[in-house]
Point group: C2
Chain length 187, copies 2
């Protein structure tokens, strides 16, 4: 096959997949995961049921792919914040704050307990831990973060402590949580 | 039925139930949850299969009851530590340290991901949060803990931050985690 042709097929596949993910997320948000069928999803996407099965075996597989896409967006967002200007301390705080805000946004999410297991999430958490550890290591070199504990362990602490944001009801409480978590990092 | 008789039956039931829980925990530790059958459990307990079914509908129900018993022991242990002598700060630190040690003990536990959902755990966490909040409130009144954040929110922070102990490999790292978490609580 000529290169251009492959690219077009690949692009088409990606467009269809994205449309399936969007349609499924909408349907699940409206009706709940257990009452959404592959037929409904095919109809909402505007493709045939047989075509849908060429992309995904079942609704759960679609939701996991959707979740992977969401996680990808979150990681991109955090990476963008972490590479903005400012000193290491400033960037660290901005990233921790953004992570707490993301976790806070997941509170009461009906799919959280279902999707927040799964190997795809473990990988994202490992990625996040490395990213946090890098920021922490830079901030420690600058004397803004304690250096008596390994950056990877501090990163682990930050991830867990900020997960508490999923149980907070106000933005003020989230800011308080970030302040407490950051206070634990001081030299 | 005379009172004495009822007590004896009740005691007998409790003894049998405890024996079932012990035998099941042993079998599951040896063979894994999915390969243990009700027949094996009845045999290991030394009771008939029909009798076992009068106590529990299936292996999972036994494991959940076993887990409830474990959680009860942990809560008793923490309560005992929290009511020992010493000032509020000292008792708070002892309890947080003990909780981190319990969580650390669960690392790599094959049943953790299975049992650590479930409504019985939510209730235990609520209980723990109240208990932590009480200790934090006393320590704050003594000037050892910050009072700009509600004790219940600080308790939530402690619970989540110390859960990071499940991912640490050494006791030294657990001590470091407790130190960082406690540092976040300072006024």
């Amino acid at each position: 096959m000529p290169r251009l042709w492959t690219t077009t097929i690949e692009e088409h596949r990606r467009t269809v997949q994205a449309a399936v993910l969007d349609a499924t997320a909408d349907l699940v948000a409206q009706h709940g995961l257990t009452s959404v069928t592959m037929s409904q999803i095919a109809k909402a996407t505007g493709i045939g049921r047989a075509t849908l099965y060429k992309y995904f075996p079942d609704v759960e597989a679609i939701m996991i792919t959707w979740h992977e896409r969401q996680i990808g967006h979150h990681l991109d967002h955090l990476a963008a914040i972490g590479s903005k200007g400012g000193g290491p301390e400033q960037r660290l705080h901005a990233v921790l704050n953004a992570y707490a805000t993301i976790q806070h946004g997941h509170r009461n999410h009906p799919l959280a307990s279902l999707l927040h297991r799964g190997p795809h999430l473990l990988q994202a958490r490992r990625h996040l831990r490395d990213f946090f550890a890098e920021l922490l290591s830079e901030a420690a070199a600058d004397g803004h973060v304690r250096d008596d504990i390994a950056p990877s362990e501090l990163a682990n602490y930050c991830l867990h402590a900020l997960d508490a944001a999923t149980e907070l009801s106000t933005e003020a409480a989230v800011n308080g949580l970030v302040a407490v978590t950051v206070a634990g990092l001081r030299p």
